[in-house]
Amino acid sequence: MTFDPWRAYTYESKANRAMFTGVMSIESKYHVTEAELVTETAEIEAARRDPAKFAPLYNRYYARLLGFIYQRVATKDDAYDIASQTFIAALENIGKYKSQGVPFSAWLFRIAINELNRFYRRAKVRQAINIDDTQVEDILQELGEENSAVTDERLAKAMQQLEQDEMQLLEMRFFEKRPFKEVCDILEISETAAKARVYRLLEKLKTIYTSLV
C-alpha cells in the first residue's frame, strides 16, 4: 500500500455515510457544515488576493475572538488591542493557512494564544483568569468536593500551581466548555492526546488540592 498523506484527513464520503446509516455512527469532524466550509474557503482565497476582502472573516469572528481574548486579560482595552494584533497577524499569514478540515476559527485562536503570550511577556503582567461561581462549582464537582468558602479558596491556590499549558486546557475545556474537537484543533493535538492531557490535568489538580487540605 502506498502512503497517502491525505488518508488521515479524509472521512467517509456522503455516499458511504448514506450506505452505513443505521449500522454505524460516524461523528462529523467539523464544527461547521461542508457548505459553510466551502464559503469560508472562498472568502479566505479572496482575502489572500486582496486584503480588503478580509471583511467577511473579520466580521464573522470578531465577537468570538474578542471574547476568547477578554477571558484571558484584565481589561477591555487590552482585549481590543490584542484582537486587533491577532487579526493583523492572521491577515499577514493568511497565505500560510491550510484548512485540512480545521475551521478558520481554530487557526485564529491559535494566533490569539501567541499574541496573548507575547502580551504577557512584553507587558510583564500575569495571565488573567476570569471565572465565575458556577465554573468554580463545576471544577470542585470534578474533584469530588463540595462548594464552600474553604474549598473555593483551596481551589484558587491549587490553580496557581498549574503550568500555563495546563491552565490553557482547564480554561478551554472547563471554563469555556469547548468540545474536545475544538480544543484539539486549537492546540493541534489528537483527540486522544487531548483527553489524556485533561485526565492528567484533573489528576494533578486533585493531587495539589488534596495536598493543601
Partner: protein
C-alpha cells in the same frame, strides 16, 4: 508569587462592547500602517554585513567549544509515543456506543470492531453505563508508523529486536473526558484488515509504562471473502459509482499541462474537450526548470479525493511530480459545464439505484455465502460486503477478499501484529550524516532505516553509527529528526552516491566512512504532501 491573576464574577462583554472594537476600516488602516516584515527590507540587507562579521566570530567560538561535542540526547521528558512532526499524526475516528447495548463498527480500512454489551469499566473497576466514545485508528505502513512516533524496537531478554509490521491499531474509550478500561468479562474484538496474509506475525501490546512491547500471542491471518461461485455476483458497492469530475476554467496565470491520456483509463476526463492539468502550487510548487526538460514519459494517477491528479514526468531517473487540478480552456468551458451537469444527473440516478440494489442485497442473506473463517468474524454477508466496500473506497484495495487479523482487546492502547526482523544483511560501516546544503555533519541521536518493500523500521542510535549496515541490493531510505525538530532524509540515490564516493576514497577500507547526504526540511512544519515527498514512500 502567584502565577495567575484570578478574577471572580466579572461582567461579560456586552454587544455594545463588541461593537465598540469592531471596525473593519480602522482595522485595515492599522494593517496598512503596520511595520513591514524585516525579511526582504532594506534594513535586512544593511544588517547582513554586520551579522556576517558577528557570525564569523560566533562561528569560531562555536567550533572551538564544540570540538568535543557529544551527540545530542533526547529530551527525557519526551513521551514514549511522540509524533515527530506536528499536524501529521494519523488522526483517529470517533465512534459512540451505548455501553449496555454494545455495537459493531466498520473502520475505513474495512476492519471490523465488535463491542459487546457491558464492555467498559471505570478506573475503579465499576461497570460503566451510558454513552461511551471510542477512539480508533490504524497504522499500515512505515510512513504512518514514523509519523505517529510509535517505537519499532522490542527489548526481550536483554536483546533489542526490530519490528516488521502487518498492521497496528490504537483503541481507547472515554466517558466524560475520563479514560475507561476494558471489562475483562466482556472484551472487545477487532478484526483488523491487513495488507499481508503471511502467518509469521505475533500479537503485541505496547506497554507505555514499561516502555516496551508485550508479546501476547501468535497471530493468525484469516481470509474473509465470498465463496467462489459461478452464480455469485461481485459484491455491490456505492464506490463503484464515481461522481463526475467538476472542471474549472483554466487560469492563464497558473501553470498547466496538456497531456494525451488514454480515454479508457480516465473516462471521467475523456468527456471534456480541452482538458489541462493545472498545477496546484499550494501542494507542489512549480519548477521553471522542468519546462526545458525533454521528458520521456508521464504518469497520471487519480488521487483519493477524486478531484485532483498526480502527474509525474520522467526522464531516466529524473522525476518531477505535481499535484494538479482538472481545468479546461476558456473556449471549451461552457461546453464542459453542460457535460458536467448532465453527467452529474446521471451520477445521482446511478447512485440512487446502486444504494437501492445494496439495500436489496443486504436484506437477502441467502444470495451470497461466506467461507468458514469469514463467517466466524463477520455476522453475515451484508457486513462483509460493507467492510469490503469501505476498504475499496478508502484504501483502493479491489481484491475479492480481505485478510483479517483478530485482536482480543484486553487493555486499551496500541496493539500490533508484528514479527521481530533481524537487521538487514550487509557489511558494517561507520556512517556520517552530512547536510546536503551546508555539507556539514549533522549530529543525530538516532536514525531510522527503511527498506522499500518491507514494512519495517530499523532504529540505529548514535552508538550504532560505527556499525551501520543495510541491504545493498535493496532500495533503502534513512529518516531522522534533527535536534531542532526538522525532518531529514537520505534518499536511495544519496545512499548509492555515498557508497560510490566511499569506494573511490583513498586509504584502507577499514578507515573509510560512509558519508550520507541528507536533505533537511527548511522548516519543522511540513504539509502532508511535503512530508510524503521527502519520505519517498
Amino acid at each position: 508569587m502567584d502565577k495567575y491573576n484570578i478574577n471572580r464574577n466579572r461582567d461579560p462583554l456586552t454587544p455594545e462592547d463588541v461593537q465598540k472594537g469592531k471596525d473593519f476600516d480602522t482595522f485595515m488602516k492599522a494593517y496598512s500602517a503596520r511595520p513591514k516584515p524585516f525579511w526582504g527590507s532594506k534594513t535586512m540587507y544593511m544588517s547582513i554585513a554586520t551579522v556576517g562579521i558577528i557570525a564569523v566570530v560566533a562561528g569560531t567560538w562555536v567550533v572551538m567549544n564544540n570540538s568535543e561535542s557529544t551527540t545530542p540526547t533526547e529530551n527525557p521528558k519526551t513521551a514514549f509515543v511522540t509524533p515527530p512532526l506536528e499536524g501529521l499524526d494519523v488522526k483517529d475516528t470517533t465512534y459512540f456506543v451505548d455501553a449496555a447495548a454494545g455495537a459493531d463498527f466498520i473502520y475505513k480500512t474495512g476492519s471490523f470492531i465488535h463491542v459487546p454489551q457491558n464492555a467498559f469499566v471505570d478506573s475503579a473497576g465499576n461497570p460503566v453505563s451510558g454513552k461511551v466514545e471510542i477512539h480508533y485508528r490504524e497504522f499500515h505502513n512505515t510512513a504512518e508508523i514514523f509519523l505517529a512516533g510509535i517505537p519499532m524496537t522490542y527489548d526481550s531478554a536483554g536483546s533489542r529486536y526490530h519490528f516488521e509490521s502487518a498492521g497496528m491499531l490504537e483503541i481507547t474509550a472515554w466517558q466524560n473526558g475520563r479514560p475507561l478500561k476494558v471489562n475483562s468479562a466482556s472484551q472487545i474484538n477487532v478484526a483488523m484488515a491487513s495488507d499481508t496474509a503471511d502467518q509469521k506475525y505475533n500479537v503485541y501490546y505496547l506497554d507505555t509504562t514499561a516502555k516496551n512491547w508485550n508479546f501476547i500471542a501468535k497471530d493468525k491471518a484469516v481470509v474473509a471473502g465470498f465463496v467462489a461461485d459461478s452464480t455469485k455476483t461481485k459484491p455491490l458497492s456505492v464506490a463503484d459509482v464515481a461522481p463526475p469530475v467538476l472542471p474549472s476554467k483554466a487560469d492563464k496565470a497558473k501553470h498547466s499541462f496538456v497531456i494525451a491520456f488514454e480515454p479508457s483509463e480516465f473516462p471521467e476526463l475523456s468527456v471534456y474537450k480541452g482538458v489541462r492539468f493545472q498545477v496546484d502550487e499550494t501542494k507542489t510548487p512549480y519548477n521553471k526548470k522542468d519546462k526545458n526538460i525533454q521528458w520521456e514519459d508521464v504518469n497520471i494517477a487519480r488521487n483519493a479525493d477524486r478531484k485532483s491528479y498526480t502527474v509525474t514526468f520522467m526522464q531516466g531517473a529524473n522525476k518531477s511530480t505535481y499535484v494538479t487540478g482538472v481545468v479546461v480552456d476558456e473556449a471549451n468551458y461552457a461546453g464542459a459545464m453542460k457535460v458536467y451537469n448532465q453527467k452529474y444527473e446521471e451520477y445521482q440516478t446511478a447512485l440512487k439505484k446502486k444504494q437501492d440494489d445494496i439495500l436489496t442485497a443486504m436484506s437477502n442473506h441467502e444470495n451470497q455465502l461466506m467461507n468458514a473463517d469469514a463467517r466466524r468474524i463477520f455476522v453475515n454477508d451484508s457486513v462483509l460486503s460493507m467492510a469490503m466496500a469501505a476498504r475499496r473506497a478508502n484504501v483502493g484495495d479491489a481484491k475479492e477478499n480481505m485478510v483479517m487479523r483478530e485482536f482480543i482487546i484486553r487493555n486499551f492502547g496500541i496493539w500490533n501484529s508484528d514479527c521481530p526482523a533481524s537487521l538487514p544483511q550487509g557489511p558494517e560501516m561507520f556512517v556520517q550524516f552530512i547536510d546536503s546544503k551546508t555539507k556539514k555533519e549533522i549530529q543525530l541521536s538516532r536514525v531510522f532505516l527503511v527498506e522499500k518493500g518491507k514494512n519495517a523500521i530499523w532504529t540505529f542510535y548514535a552508538s550504532d553509527f560505527a556499525k551501520f549496515r543495510f541491504n545493498h541490493d535493496a532500495e533503502n531510505l534513512v529518516w531522522a529528526m534533527t535536534s531542532d525538530g526538522k525532518l531529514a532524509v537520505v534518499s536511495t540515490d544519496a545512499i548509492t552516491k555515498g557508497l560510490d564516493d566511499m569506494a573511490k576514497a583513498k586509504g584502507d577500507d577499514k578507515d573509510k566512512k560512509l558519508k550520507l547526504e541528507m536533505e533537511v526540511a527548511s522548516s519543522s512544519t511540513l504539509t502532508g504532501v511535503q512530508a510524503s515527498l521527502m519520505l519517498g514512500i
